[in-house]
């Protein structure tokens, strides 16, 4: 049993004097300053800084941010650089080029080739053209823009309504909470597709958009889509916010604020909302891709934005007819949808890992 370095017989009193081995000057009392140096507080970090540091360490999230920035840049820059519009037939040297149908990427039509031969400059068709001789790249970029906007605004609407409703319900509690949550349950049980179809039909018939230029440009379908998001999809957010508030309300700091004499208003704004804001932002970020997806599939079945305005779903739907001869036309908008949705989802996940208090230690 007795092994070499036995823990128990190590420090038996030594025969040779200790003073020979150790520097005696070190056995003086340490000053307070010297001790203080040992007791430094770690560097100040805020919740936000700490979360950002974690987010930046997540390669998928960083990749998504880069992809999203590139897409946004593309949406902003393209209309200023590419000399085509999404709704008009390509013009070469001032004349409409009806022969530029269904070109392959980087291919030039006969008129353009002639123009180039004369020494004129023609911007290449990065993704070819469609069957109406419109530049497809510009259409895809505009489609992205539309889908992106729909996604962001729809989730903002959802966020605002959901947060307001959920926080009122969660904070008041009792009967108010019960009634408000039953309303949520009813809305939850409505089939959304049916409501969208109904609304878009009703709007087309009843609303007069001609006076409001923006609405006119968007079209009845688009407006009904926002309305549907506003009316239907906030319920998930409201439930989430209510749940958050119910847990935060139990925290002692809320009790402490009440003991101080703070009013409900102050408690909601200073104590409850700041503590669930990270969860709200995360779920809004995750709501964006689902809104884009909904927009795309609604456009795909013809309930989306009005022609000639493109959206990614509408482009994909159009490309369906010529899928066998021109498969690339389906690939480009589909690829954009995938990129955007994936990037937002990964970013949302990354945000959750970095900011969700439940996952933090």
């Amino acid at each position: 049993m007795a092994t070499e370095n036995n823990v128990n017989d190590l420090p038996l009193p030594k025969k040779n004097p200790l003073s020979l081995q150790i520097d005696l000057s070190k056995f003086e009392k340490a000053t307070d300053e010297e001790k203080k140096q040992q007791d430094v507080m770690s560097e100040s970090t805020t919740f936000f800084k700490d979360g950002m540091r974690k987010l930046m360490k997540n390669p998928l999230a960083v990749g998504s941010i880069i992809v999203l920035i590139l897409i946004i840049l593309m949406m902003i820059v393209t209309p200023h650089v590419v000399p085509y519009t999404y709704s008009q037939i390509i013009t070469v040297d001032g004349k409409r080029d009806t022969g530029a149908k269904n070109l392959k990427p980087f291919q030039y039509s006969k008129m353009e080739q002639a123009y180039i031969a004369k020494g004129g400059k023609v911007f290449p068709h990065v993704m070819g053209t469609d069957e109406l001789s419109r530049d497809y790249f510009v259409r895809v970029v505009y489609g992205t823009r539309v889908s992106f906007m729909v996604g962001v605004f729809a989730s903002l609407i959802v966020g605002i309504i959901g947060v307001l409703y959920g926080s009122i319900s969660g904070y008041s509690g009792g009967k108010t909470d019960m009634i408000m949550m039953r309303i949520v349950d009813i809305i939850y049980s409505l089939p959304d597709l049916l409501v969208i179809i109904l609304l878009s039909v009703v709007f087309k018939e009843t609303l007069d958009f001609s006076k409001v230029p923006i609405l006119q440009k968007l079209g009845a379908n688009m407006v009904s889509m926002f309305l549907v998001f506003g009316l239907l999809y906030w319920v998930g957010m409201a439930r989430l916010v209510r749940g958050q508030i119910l847990t935060i309300k139990e925290n002692e700091y809320v009790l402490a604020a009440r003991a101080i004499g703070a009013r409900p208003n102050r408690i909601i704004w200073h104590h409850i909302l700041p503590n669930c804001i990270s969860v709200i932002i995360i779920s809004i970020a995750l709501e964006i891709p689902s809104a884009i997806f909904t927009e795309s599939y609604l456009s795909f079945i013809g309930l989306g934005v009005a022609l000639p305005m493109p959206s990614l779903g509408a482009l994909a739907s159009d490309a369906r007819s010529g899928m066998q001869s021109y498969p690339l036309k389906l690939v480009f908008p589909a690829l954009m949808i995938v990129l955007i949705v994936l990037a937002f989802n990964l970013l949302g996940d990354g945000l959750r890992d970095a900011f969700d208090p439940k996952l933090r230690k």
């Binding site: 823990v7 128990n8 200790l18 056995f27 340490a30 001790k35 140096q37 007791d39």
Partner: protein, 350 residues
């Protein structure tokens, strides 16, 4: 001096023979986002057969991590980086899956602070106990296992055990749940029972019940207990031997009397001064200044140096070695070295 040396040697030899578990120079670290956290930093001790060893320390002192390292139930980010844990001469750290399975449960069991989270709320007490029994003993039939469960529950003082085994954990009180956990831990009559803050979540009167029960069972079954706690009162009433930990290191180890009546480490002394004095309750407390140590930001020298009122220059620079005190217990404090130096000097002058 000579007499005590002989005493000490005998003590060491005796320890050798009766030891069930020896931990040598254990280092356990957690690898987190913010860097390596050295939770246990060179801990060595000896667990004697049939004795209760107390590990006492504040939060972050590494007392629980030491216990978890023995059981190999560290969180994913944690790893034993150095050292040996010898059970009957074999290193637990080198155990394969099968050996580890046998060690955990059969030879060594653990009970935790919160009995609610260590019991599965979706199964009855009986089915959870049966599972443990069937897994670790030769009782492979459900009937046998149930009989054993009832016997065990009776042993830990659960009334109406036949009824209890059909109940779910939430139907029992905290004290009852802890009794069930103890019964499960003792199912295989282990050599070692690790109790990680077993009574912290319980009320004083229930704590007294559980502590009494643990003592009684220990007498009956003769196992060794490692009792991890922050409560000096619990330690004093339960333990034969005590390890005081701070910042992942052992400050002092010895018998209960050594630690409480002859503390030789500044931290132990401070700890004892900071609890109300029983003989004079109104006497002002003497707290230890400063804040608990930040494991991410450990000082170069002694972990306690920043809070120690008598810290020496060397304390800030160098980690003290463990040194044996004249009465045979061990402390790691430079002040003891200084005292020895002064004595030597005085002797030399004579």
């Amino acid at each position: 001096m000579d007499i005590s040396t002989i005493d000490v040697e005998e003590k060491v030899k005796k320890n050798e023979e009766d030891s069930v578990l020896r931990v040598k120079n254990l280092h356990t670290s957690f690898f987190t986002d913010s860097g390596e956290v050295k939770a246990v930093n060179g801990v060595s001790f000896n667990l004697t057969k049939g004795k209760i060893l107390g590990i006492v320390g504040e939060s972050g002192s590494g007392k629980s991590v030491t216990a978890y390292s023995i059981m190999q139930i560290l969180a994913d980010t944690g790893r034993v980086v150095e050292g040996e844990i010898l059970y009957k001469g074999k290193n637990v750290l080198n155990f394969g899956k099968k050996e580890m399975h046998d060690f955990r449960g059969d030879k060594c069991s653990i009970i935790f602070q919160d009995p609610m989270t260590s019991l599965n709320p979706t199964f009855t007490i009986g089915s959870q106990m049966n599972e443990a029994i069937m897994l670790h003993t030769d009782k492979k039939h459900k009937k046998e296992a149930t009989a054993r469960s009832i016997e065990l529950l009776q042993m830990v003082g659960v009334n109406e055990p036949e009824k209890r085994i059909k109940q779910y954990p939430h139907e029992l009180s905290g004290g009852m749940r802890q009794r069930v956990m103890i019964a499960m831990a003792l199912a295989c009559e282990p050599d070692i029972l690790i109790a990680d803050e077993p009574t912290t979540a319980l009320d004083v009167t229930i704590q007294a019940q559980i502590l009494e029960l643990m003592k009684e069972l220990q007498h009956k079954m003769g196992m060794a207990i490692i009792l991890v706690t922050h409560d000096l009162g619990v330690i004093a009433s339960m333990c034969d031997e005590i390890i005081v930990m701070y910042g992942g290191r052992v400050c002092e180890r010895g018998t209960a009397e050594d630690i409480f009546y002859r503390p030789s480490h500044e931290y132990t002394k401070g700890l004892l001064r900071s609890i109300p004095n029983i003989s004079n309750m109104k006497e002002r407390l003497v707290p230890i200044a400063g804040s608990p140590i930040n494991l991410l930001n450990m000082p170069k020298g002694c972990a306690f140096c920043a809070r120690c009122e008598n810290a020496l220059k060397i304390c800030l620079e160098q980690v003290p070695d463990e040194m044996q005190m004249p009465d045979g217990h061990y402390a790691s404090c430079w002040l003891n070295v200084k005292k020895q130096l002064e004595e030597e000097k005085a002797n030399g002058e004579q």
